[in-house]
């Protein structure tokens, strides 16, 4: 019952006129950038990070979180209507969603997507309400060694389970950890890798790094990939959204499976919505009576991934808020936002800043209900936005990136860094190196070093301490299993590729 009382208190903070307005702004902006191909939630959250400096921390978090889950709703619209992933997690929605559009069932696809997203998100919020306080209670007794091993799992999972080569992912994580070293060492005051540049004494700006890797990178990737497909003359009416009885039957089961899978995946450190939606799609295809329907407009191929991806987005807040360990790159940026306000997410957060924690949770409900309204009756507006030509859009976004990065520290050096990271990230991406693990490594780096140092200081240099602590031991075992699984699957993929090439 405590949880419900606290939730009530959260609603008091989330239902103030300002909070409602900020939440509406966040989810609308999120949907907007989610719909637009070529600018994602991560870029937008980084852009808005400087805005939150002037806001109350709760309002800032409500806004950033709104952009995050609003973006998931928005990007599925683009996947279904244009066959272009508005953001990575929606890539699988294209497979069957766009086929439904071609069959004239765009309305139904959009309707079930929105409902599935809402159900997935809501379930994960309930999970957060009851599970997060319990986890926080347990986590209070975690030692430095335990934290180190959990972070290690997050880093290894994020780098090896991503699409592509696990080895390349690991390289990017280590590179991210190294970039995280730049600046003043908190224990000794020693400047590391600052090369005599005063600005670097405070470390590399998170916004500059994220904007370079993701903002500039996304735009370059789009420009290089050639002309973006144009929207066909699609009109989506409310009437066309009504699903048939058969649709609903297939909807409920797949939505439930997607929700459960997504919630589980979202809670694990290091896994994000992309992995959740891909896994959900694979699961549906595996257990379907007739797998050949997939790729030809199967409704389960839309509902399960969308439920999973929204569930995982909400569930990802559980480890982020209770352990202070972000699950993916977007969460890493949000933690950065909290840290700027002097709030360190961790087990104490729920007790020390209850209004922040419960206010954010309550705002999730409000935001998801707003999204329901934004996505169903107002769908026509978003379809119109899809017709903005990219030619006009991307120069504006690039200018926003320059100004956004500059405004964090009023530093043109940060903009220079964005340029460097943008070029570097794009070149590495073309060679198959993913950017997300680098960003996660960058944010976790200082925490990882701190806990590693503390653990060994307490154990007087005995490395066995990581095995002697039970929690730490368990996470190390899981880390090993993840690595093993990554090696196995990449072997299978490599084998498959060589077979295809020889054929």
């Amino acid at each position: 019952m405590d949880a419900l009382l606290n939730l009530g208190m959260g609603f008091q903070h989330a239902l103030t006129p300002e909070a409602l307005l900020i939440c509406l702004f966040g989810v609308t902006l999120g949907t907007f950038v989610g719909v637009l191909p070529g600018i994602g939630a991560l870029t937008t959250i980084s852009l808005c990070l400087p805005l939150t400096f002037h806001l109350d921390p709760l309002l800032g978090m409500i806004m950033l979180a709104g952009i995050f889950y609003g973006g998931q709703y928005g990007s599925s619209i683009t996947s279904i209507l244009l066959n272009v992933a508005g953001s990575a997690p929606s890539a699988v929605t294209c497979l069957d969603g766009y086929q439904m559009t071609r069959q004239g069932r765009a309305g139904v696809a959009l309707f079930v997507t929105t409902i599935a997203s809402f159900i997935g998100g809501s379930f994960a919020i309930v999970l957060m309400i009851f599970f997060a306080p319990v986890l926080a209670d347990v986590a209070v007794s975690f030692s430095a060694a335990d934290y180190f091993s959990i972070m290690l799992l997050a880093l290894v999972t994020a780098s090896t389970l991503a699409v592509g080569s696990p080895l390349k992912g690991l390289c990017m994580v280590v590179l991210g950890l190294i970039l995280g070293l730049v600046g003043t060492d908190i224990n000794s005051g020693q400047f590391r890798y600052t090369f005599g540049i005063a600005t670097l004494a405070d470390g590399i700006s998170l916004v500059a790094l994220a904007m370079g890797l993701f903002g500039v990178g996304e735009i370059l990737t789009n420009l290089v990939s050639g002309v973006l497909p144009q929207l066909e003359n699609t009109r989506v009416t409310l009437r066309s959204m009504i699903p048939s009885r058969l649709d609903m039957k297939q909807f409920w089961m797949s939505c439930t499976r997607g929700t459960l899978l997504g919630s589980f995946v979202g809670m694990l450190p290091g896994t994000g919505p992309t992995i959740a939606s891909f896994m959900a799609y694979a699961l549906e295809k595996k257990i379907a009576k007739d797998p050949s329907r997939f790729g030809h407009g199967a409704i389960e191929g839309v509902t399960a991934p969308e439920a999973a991806n929204n569930a995982s987005v909400q569930a990802a807040f559980i480890p982020t808020m209770t352990l202070g360990i972000p699950g993916d790159a977007i969460m890493a940026v949000m933690i950065g936002g909290l840290l700027i306000h002097g709030i360190t997410p961790g087990p104490q957060l729920i007790n020390e800043n209850p209004e922040l924690f419960w206010g954010v949770v309550a705002s999730f409900w409000i935001g998801n209900i707003m999204l329901l309204v934004l996505n169903l009756p107002l769908i026509g507006v978003w379809v119109k936005i899809l017709s903005i030509p990219y030619k006009l859009l991307f120069p504006a976004v690039l200018l926003l990136i320059s100004i956004g990065v500059y405004s964090v520290n009023n530093s043109s050096f940060d903009v220079l860094l964005t340029f460097v990271f943008g070029m570097f990230g794009f070149w590495f991406n073309r060679h198959g190196f993913p950017s997300a693990p680098l960003l996660l490594g960058f944010v976790l780096g200082p925490m990882l070093e701190e806990n590693f140092r503390r653990a060994l200081l307490l154990a007087e240099g005995n490395l066995g301490t990581f095995i002697e602590h039970r929690v730490s031991f368990a996470f190390l075992v899981i880390t090993l299993l993840v690595m093993l699984a990554a090696v196995m699957t990449s072997k299978i993929f490599a084998f498959g590729n060589s077979k295809m090439e020889s054929a």
């Binding site: 390289c171 280590v174 190294i178 890798y193 991307f394 320059s402 100004i403 050096f413 200081l457």
Partner: protein, 147 residues
């Protein structure tokens, strides 16, 4: 052929060399011991990690036939990159309007454009809108013109 080969191994070599540099510089800070780590411990450890990963990557590439070259899309990279670079260089010297107009002009040419006129009008309009939003409304302290 040689170019393709070099490009294939370049990331691995670059990472290993970076790792070496990181470790070397790191060892100039105080490394300390496992019990009492100095500021140099993590840098050296991570540098060595990167060298090892670079070598593993190199070895992996040896077993794969060189892929057909992706080709580097020079046009968008130059215009997009040049635009950001120009903004960073100009903002402290000439102020918001010149820097932003130059960046918008640069980035517009990453895609084929129909004519100068529309691009110029667009750049002016967007700069004005951005100035009102960021400087007037959000109070980013940057002069419209000059330093």
């Amino acid at each position: 052929m040689l170019r393709t080969k070099i490009l294939q191994f370049l990331p691995a070599v670059l990472l290993a060399v970076t790792g070496l540099g990181v470790a070397a510089l790191g060892s100039s800070y105080q490394v300390g011991s496992l019990t009492a780590m100095g500021p140099g411990f993590m840098p050296v450890a991570l540098g060595v990690c990167l060298v090892l990963l670079g070598i593993a990557l190199f070895a992996g590439e040896l077993r794969i036939a060189p892929k057909t070259e992706l080709g580097f899309p020079l046009r968008p990279v130059l215009w997009v990159g040049g635009g950001i670079l120009a903004w960073a260089m100009l903002i402290d010297v000439l102020g918001f309007f010149p820097a932003s107009i130059v960046q918008l002009l640069f980035s517009s040419f990453a895609l084929p454009q129909e004519g100068w006129r529309s691009v110029l009008i667009l750049a002016l309009g967007m700069t004005l809108a951005a100035y009102i939003l960021f400087v007037t409304l959000l109070g980013v302290p940057v002069p419209a013109f000059g330093s």
